[in-house]
Symmetry: C2
Subunit: 310 residues, 2 copies
Amino acid sequence: MARFRPAIGDESQFLEQLFDHGLLLRTGAPGVYGRGPLFEDVRERFDTLVTRVAAPDKAESLRFPPLLSRRHLESTGYLASFPHLAGTIFEFEGSEREAAEQAERAALHEDWSASQTMTDLVLVPAACYPVYPVIAARAPLPAGGTTIDAGGAYVFRREPSGDPARLQMFHQREIVRIGEPASVAAWRDAWRDRAVEILQRVGLEAEFDVATDPFFGRSGRMLAASQRAQELKFEVRIPIASPEPTAVASFNYHQEHFAQSFGIKLADGGVAHSACLGFGLERIALGLLRRHGLDPRRWSGAVRDELWGR
Amino acid sequence: MARFRPAIGDESQFLEQLFDHGLLLRTGAPGVYGRGPLFEDVRERFDTLVTRVAAPDKAESLRFPPLLSRRHLESTGYLASFPHLAGTIFEFEGSEREAAEQAERAALHEDWSASQTMTDLVLVPAACYPVYPVIAARAPLPAGGTTIDAGGAYVFRREPSGDPARLQMFHQREIVRIGEPASVAAWRDAWRDRAVEILQRVGLEAEFDVATDPFFGRSGRMLAASQRAQELKFEVRIPIASPEPTAVASFNYHQEHFAQSFGIKLADGGVAHSACLGFGLERIALGLLRRHGLDPRRWSGAVRDELWGR
């Protein structure tokens, strides 16, 4: 197979090629795709490479399903900043007659939303969210703080799109550091450099820059300006298919935000700070496929050695 | 650590022990738990054991996120049979003023459901559901049909419970066979025997029996009776914590149900049949922990050899 490079700026052409090669699979919803074995292998191998690089952190490994207690989302202020990205879970609680009516409407693809009621669950918006309540329940923090590896977990963002690099559900490889402000900031800065290095090792043109979260609305623009001024967020970006490079890793310094939301205190009773890093595993797999070609079995020996060789 | 055996019938005692040993982690919602590394290791090792046993099937390996197009759920009749178990995804589509109101209510833990609207997505109720539309899009089937390994994927059932063996989100290791009626039925029967054998190899007292799905309401009782009379569903059960043995694997013969819902035809134009098998990976991990003790590092050599030895 010849090396295929979609035109920069033509996301839909890239997505069609991914479908044609069985790397991604249509499911009927934009940004929700099945995955073929070659795509999954690349994603998992990069995840394993992160595990090797992260070994010196001696992080505690915890895993979470992609659901979060709604109360926890309410406590973090997520809905003030990102109401447009949140997904909530609804259920049916009615009678047998109401169930029959709901089923009848649904079979006709008519609106059956009125028979659904809100549950106590939402979709996880970022893989670090379930970590904080678990650490809070163990409080206070041990001296030196704690580092949690939350794995490569599915997270949800409500942003349907035809760009394969903008999925509604994707794997975020997340590590969280909670502790003294200075050690948390130093950890974040060290990982920013490590992330660029990992991506360069697999042949990607990675660069980092100060960044902002996609805050909602006009008031969100002020939040973004403040976040940028304080350099609270960095991103590492690589070329995928859109005209501008795409963020594939981000490094967020939350200061006391999450520790205060959940009541996490330092061993000495002081206010803890937190930071997290997240690799967008599907975006990295897409970047690798675009850079090295759509058949990973034919990638160069050096790249294959990094991902499969050890 | 001494071997711990919770009293049969005391599910809540077992759950507390799992929390105490860091095998499961509280998240604030019943049936939604984080997982410690030992629990995850057991779950993944059993998953790998299934992969080894399934090798002769030469199944095609496909993976799906835990979201399904709502339209596909509507097309299968799931809402007629299991309206109480379905989870639907809602989102915010309002203005900046409405977002501020929603955030204010949420921060006070008041009801903010009125500002949420239904999306085109639902949670996956069983790991085989996303497979059928993908196979339908490739139609017709190749001669001999097809076998798809959908992996150990997260699925959702809305049944909050204090029984650790009844999770709202759990991993279902699912394999789907679609083809000629006789070959599909034979495949299902062969796996029923293989599943008992796998579970016995890791020291579990497994037995199979005819079973029924948890259909909703009074009309559901008739569906269950018909399913039982036709022996369309088998389950393999093991002792976990509840008074009766718990189903940890099920084998469903759908006849033409899913093929007709999605328009899957045989190579000769005839009606395809389908069957699937699902292992409940968390339930099997729980059964192993209950049978062999809460520290997998101390399990007997024979059991460890089966799970870690190859």
